[in-house]
């Protein structure tokens, strides 16, 4: 049987995937890149979480759910962490759960693209849809990101190679610029390669804006090679629709000035009569959705503290910071592996707390957890809606039954909430 699917391997949510399924097994995956194909195949992997575990012992799902509810109920200060790899419906339930247990709601978005997603929303900026980029953008800039390694199909599915209404020759109708601190594979498809020292993103944005508004600066101020810079400026001036896809490179050293500088540059481009937009290249498939759900439920993007009953928020108080101070006694981790990805101090805080892991794989975090609730693989075994990097909501099209005792995130969260 051939079925259509939406890939949840990254925030591009490629919706042209075709899967051949036979007897409940995947026979072939068409069109997904290596990351996407791997995610689909992971549903059948050995590292898969299939049974609920309590203290390493297999228990029934009911038992595990009861224990999770009890841990959360009795927690002095619970953290509910993850959400970027869960569908919007599950995020909503997570926010309700956090409110109910007076918990702290956060995830990788607070140290990743959460800020830029929030910043754009605050300024009332709505990014264009990727289909519009396909049809109209004649200059695509990859800034501080390397889609050749992280979002493999970004250029071929939407931004560079497809032929659109105003871009009839595909790659030859567009200019491609890559800004990064070192040569990258993405530069292989670029016309302009701007290499800058780390942390000079804001300076470069300012320099470009200056060129456009007639106040010339020196390329050396941003540490960029002169010849390359001016040929980029020439090409930029000829462009009619510029879209900048930016990555975490813009946050070097935890600075936010890169993102702010970029949006200033977008404004300058627009006022010089060029259509321009910026879109963050978020990694996890539903990071944009997680931030948007949090904003619409509480007015805050992430790092939301429900301990006082009413939600409160401080940019400086993220899960990573509070974990480093050993603040949480119980941590529910959903679709994330903080033990493998957080800085050392936060990890030692995490190790001191009791962890409930909701995941489809036995990640480092799940292996060390007090309690494991096996989750279905989103997009493969369970559905719901997810939000693409451009804000487009897509309905996932699962094509396998959840393996073993695994359940959709939503179902698990509902069961836990009911037990509270």
């Amino acid at each position: 049987m051939r079925v259509e699917a939406v890939c949840t391997g990254c925030s591009l949510l490629c919706d042209d995937i075709v899967v051949e399924v036979k007897g409940g097994r995947v026979k072939k995956v068409l069109h997904a890149c290596a990351i996407g194909a791997k995610r689909i195949e992971s549903a059948l992997e050995a590292e898969r979480a299939l049974k609920p575990l309590a203290g390493g012992r297999i228990v029934s799902l009911d038992e595990a759910v009861k224990q999770a509810a009890e841990m959360l109920r009795e927690a002095r200060r619970p953290l509910l962490y993850g959400w970027c790899n869960s569908v919007n419906e599950a995020v909503r339930l997570g926010l309700e759960l956090a409110r109910k247990v007076n918990g702290f709601f956060d995830g990788p978005m607070s140290v990743c693209h959460g800020y830029s997603i929030w910043y754009a929303r605050m300024k009332g900026i709505r990014p264009p849809k990727l289909d519009e980029v396909l049809d109209r953008a004649d200059h695509v800039v990859y800034w501080g990101c390397n889609p050749a390694e992280s979002h493999h199909r970004h250029a071929s599915r939407f931004a560079v190679f497809p032929r659109g209404e105003k871009t009839p020759e595909g790659v030859e109708s567009r200019s491609v610029t890559v800004v990064d601190v070192r040569p990258t594979r993405t530069m292989r498809i670029a016309n302009h390669r701007l290499i800058i020292p780390p942390g000079r993103d804001a300076a470069l944005a300012k320099l470009i804006a200056g060129e456009l508004s007639g106040s010339r600066g020196k390329p050396s101020e941003a540490g960029v090679a002169e010849e390359e810079f001016y040929s980029f400026i020439e090409s930029l001036k000829r462009s009619t629709y510029v879209v900048v896809f930016y990555g975490l490179g813009l946050y070097s050293a935890g600075e936010r000035s890169g993102v702010e500088g970029l949006y200033e540059l977008i404004k300058v481009l627009e006022s010089s009569g060029v259509k321009a937009a910026a879109i963050p290249m978020s990694g996890h498939y539903n990071m944009v959705g997680a931030v948007e759900e949090a904003l619409s439920a509480t007015g805050y993007p992430y790092a939301i503290d429900f301990s006082g009953g009413q939600p409160s928020f401080s940019q400086e108080q993220t899960a990573v910071k509070l974990l480093s101070k050993g603040e949480f006694d119980v941590v529910l981790v959903i679709g994330s592996d903080p033990l493998a990805s957080m800085p050392r101090q936060a990890v030692s805080g995490l190790k001191k707390s009791k962890v409930i892991a909701v995941d489809y794989q036995l990640s480092l975090t799940a292996r060390a957890a007090e309690l494991v609730l096996p989750a279905a693989v989103g997009g493969v075994e369970s559905g719901g809606t997810a939000t693409r990097m451009d804000g487009e909501r897509l309905e996932l099209k699962p094509f396998l039954e959840p393996a073993g005792c695994s359940r959709a995130d939503e179902e698990i969260l509902k069961m836990v909430a009911k037990e509270l």
């Binding site: 068409l30 194909a37 050749a148 599915r157 109708s173 594979r185």
Partner: protein, 146 residues
């Protein structure tokens, strides 16, 4: 892109296209050099000679070939979408979608590109064009044309 660079780049549209579109059509053999009147002016004589050389058909097509190293490939799909032969047999590829037709040169299966129909490549008859688009735009240097 090399072809484009050698055109007059005036976008005069005497050929009925922009210079950029004309360049692509030249490569695809949909138009002839003679369709651009400007090229036959004296000042473009050198460019014209170079263009003739560039567009010379691949002499013996069986001396040409294309290798795809699947171990390097990440399934990015750049080759699938950039390939003019793919686009002409499966129009949805022009919009960046995966190739569902069995007639394409490449498509991505289980996360890596596979050569499905090498003879569709425009380097082979009847086209015999010196196209190297897939090789040029592969992120991973997985494609080698020889």
């Amino acid at each position: 892109m090399d072809v484009y660079k050698l055109l007059p780049k005036t976008n005069c549209k005497k050929c009925g296209h922009t210079c950029l579109a004309f360049a692509t059509k030249l490569i695809l053999r949909e138009v002839k050099l003679e369709d651009c009147p400007l090229l036959f002016e004296d000042k473009y004589a050198e460019n014209l000679a170079k263009l003739r050389e560039l567009l010379e058909p691949v002499m013996d097509t069986y001396e040409t070939g294309l290798k795809l190293d699947e171990s390097k490939c990440t399934g990015c799909g750049n080759c699938v979408v950039v390939c003019p032969a793919n686009v002409s047999v499966d129009p949805s590829v022009a919009r960046g979608m995966g190739a569902n037709s069995e007639e394409v040169v490449f498509r991505v299966e289980d996360g890596v590109a596979k050569i499905v129909n090498l003879e569709r490549c425009r380097r082979f008859p009847p086209d015999r064009i010196n196209c190297r688009m897939c090789e040029q735009y592969c992120y991973s240097k997985a494609i080698e044309i020889y």
